[in-house]
Symmetry: C2
Subunit: 120 residues, 2 copies
């Protein structure tokens, strides 16, 4: 979910199964739904993610210069947080129990999808 000036400009969910897409992680889907925006909108926006952003989504954050990312949890998967921090992105990791439960449950019930997605 991308928030700009207190307004949600893009929501997203992983669409790997629903659209057969290897690129529509939740973050990417949110960007796609936000659509083409002036650079300043992204640069002033905050991205909210359930899980720590993977390399692809972190790269998108860097491309668009999003400066602040609120991360639900990074216990089930630690993405490119170090890279993002090294480029000046402010991260807040909440370790929210609802996010952890959501991901833990998904990984337990769909290990084949989880492993497909992270390339194990």
């Amino acid at each position: 979910m991308i928030v700009s000036n207190g307004t949600i400009i893009g929501r997203g969910h992983n669409r790997r199964v629903q659209k057969g897409s290897p690129i529509l992680h939740g973050e990417m889907d949110a960007l796609e739904n936000a659509g083409r925006r002036p650079a300043a909108v992204y640069q002033g926006a905050t991205l909210y993610t359930t899980l720590s952003p993977c390399a692809m989504c972190s790269g998108a954050i860097l491309l668009y210069g999003i400066r602040r990312v609120i991360i639900g949890e990074n216990e089930n998967f630690l993405g490119e947080e170090e890279l993002l921090r090294s480029r000046g992105v402010t991260l807040e990791v909440r370790q929210d129990s609802r996010c952890i439960r959501l991901l833990t449950g998904f990984i337990r019930t769909h290990p084949e999808l989880w492993n497909e997605d992270i390339g194990v």
Copy 2:
């Protein structure tokens, strides 16, 4: 364009204008068109790009473990080549005059699109 075992499994073009998409760079479109594949396919594939891959596309390369990228040119834009090399990706930069001409012409005729895309 993604090639696996001598076969093109995904072609792509930038679709920012055509689909109003902020995420469909040529590399991402090629991944999307390749669809869901076993991890080993990406890891053994070669990605061919016209231009040096930006942060988003480089992140996708890292996510899927693509080990070899052939880059048409990096004179008009230098992407995250250093990051990719530091993660073990083999890059070949061709400085192909056709790629350079293509991008130079595009930037000259559509500076507003070029600047929108790279967030200037």
